[in-house]
Amino acid sequence: MDALLMQYFDPYYLRILMLIGINVILALGLNLITGVTGQLSMGHAGFMSLGAYTSAILSMQVGCPFYLSLLAGALVAGLFGFIIGIPTLRLEGDYLAMVTIGFAEIIRVFFLNFEPGGKAVGLSGIPQNTSFVLVWGIVIIILILNTKLLKSRTGRALYAIRENEIAAESSGINTTLLKVFAFTAGSFLAGLGGGLYAHYMYFIRPQDFGFMKSIELLNMVVLGGMGSIPGTFIGAVILTLLPEMLRVVAEYRLLFYGALLVILMIFRPNGLLGDVRVYDIKRKLQRKKVGAWPSSSN
């Protein structure tokens, strides 16, 4: 299938589409933690690196089949998300942000000194098993599951925690359990994205998963609109494309990137699609139909 695609599409565009897919998976994970549940996590790249390194080491040095190592990477990241989720019961807002930053930095330093991970040089020669179909297949499955989850009772409970934790708790929502759940699920997706990334890029280094990567992912969630699935999707697409499009301005690329972030936030402070959910749009459309009905009957 990929060979077929290669015949008709420019490899450069395919590569960007792959990266968009991987970033969508990562951003949807973070959206669950930060966008939906409102727990500010600034260390998503740390979980991503756990997934990337675990799966890469398993498939290179242990010889696990690709799908198994991918799953293992995601599970390890999820497990760490669970462990990190427990202190979040006690910490709030920016203290939590600091813990997640610190945790991601500790992981980065750990991999910088980790012998099987190739230390600062990184791992290279990871089998390139990630295919276009696989990435976008996973994206579609996650989009569907995510939409279903957020529509469900649990999903609404997660939004309730973001809006007002005390009110949520007094409405009988088990906030502790759900916060840990959001963290675990989000980290699982980060690990999955990391595994796909490692098996696509062929080569990973600890500095690929630094603070800036976490920030990049956070930007996708906030830019698109916190808690909105289409918003996160669009945010991931735009922020993956933006650096590519800004290649025109060469060394001024990051200058423009930084300035654009500020400008976008000034003009769209709640993100491009702030809080637009699929079922809200549907409801709006339905409402319009109902509103149009009496006039048409007259």
Partner: protein
């Protein structure tokens, strides 16, 4: 040996404290993690370097020049990137805006000064004194003195002057302060100016002490200083001082007695441990939630 490490830690910690003060003051008033603050510190270090190399200024002039420049820069950043967002957006949008500023400033500096590490020329002749078992360099004495002077000055300003009173009022309740006739925007600008000046002083002194200035020096220093502010209890000015010094000392001790390759991890590990035991930080007030 231990006394020497403690002194080195104190020196490093006092520069962390200077940067952390900017974080904590801004946070105290508008609840914004100002991620551009590390870059202000970096710009301060470069302005000092520029003054020393181009005009042959001495350390005092370089320090004051960098502080004045960063005061204006900090106020500009606040007016351009944060003020339009205030009141009409979530705190996260302001954080993203701050990150945008941070990327912008560090890239701008890369374009101006290239990525390579610059060194300060000899600004003072370093004399090492031996006090008991400890070697104290004149540079360390200067850093400690300047840091102490700035912190005492800040404390006096916040506690004794009219502006300081207005700042404290704003940090308690922005809306009520506005109703009491305080020009809130001016106080916020002023807070940014003071915080940026302190960061610039830290930048110049770190630049001289470690003899290295480069455009990305702000990221890690900013994170560490934020960690220090959180460690001390974010929003608390004495907390930032104590947090900075504690973090500096623990980091140096960690490098000396544990492992130097885990240097950055040690600082954050300690921070996480402290927060798990004491979620509000060392000096932070426990906030009871209002329903």
């Amino acid at each position: 040996m231990i006394w020497q490490q403690l002194l080195n830690g104190l020196t490093l910690g006092s520069t962390y404290a200077l940067i952390a003060l900017g974080y904590t003051m801004v946070y105290g008033i508008i609840q914004l993690i100002n991620f551009a603050h590390g870059e202000i510190y970096m710009v301060g270090a470069f302005v000092g370097l520029f003054l020393v190399i181009e005009t042959g200024a001495n350390i005092g002039v370089a320090l004051l020049g960098a502080m004045a420049f960063c005061m204006v820069l900090g106020m500009l950043v606040e007016i351009i990137a944060y003020r339009p967002l205030r009141g009409k957006s979530s705190r996260l949008s302001a954080i993203i805006s701050a990150i945008g500023v941070s990327i912008f400033l560090s890239t701008l500096m890369v374009l101006i000064a290239q990525t390579n590490t610059r060194r300060y020329p000899e600004v003072i002749n370093i004399v090492t004194y031996e006090i008991g078992p400890v070697h104290v360099s004149s540079l360390q004495i200067i850093i400690l003195l300047v840091a102490a002077l700035l912190m005492v000055g800040l404390q006096i300003m916040v506690q004794k002057t009219r502006v300081g009173k207005a700042m404290r009022a704003c940090s308690q309740d922005l809306a009520a302060s506005y109703l009491m006739g305080i020009n809130v925007n001016r106080i916020i600008s002023f807070t940014f100016a003071i915080g940026s000046a302190l960061a610039a002083a830290g930048g110049v002194m770190v630049g001289i002490y470690y003899n290295a200035v480069w455009p990305y020096m702000g990221t890690m220093a900013g994170l560490k200083a934020f960690a220090a502010a959180v460690l001390g209890g974010i929003g608390s000015i004495p907390g930032a001082m104590i947090g900075g010094i504690t973090l500096g000392i623990l980091e140096i001790l960690g490098v000396a007695y544990l492992s130097s390759s885990y240097k950055d991890a040690i600082a954050f590990g300690i921070l996480i441990l402290v927060l798990i035991i004491r979620p509000q930080g060392l000096l932070g007030k426990e906030i009871s939630k209002k329903v």
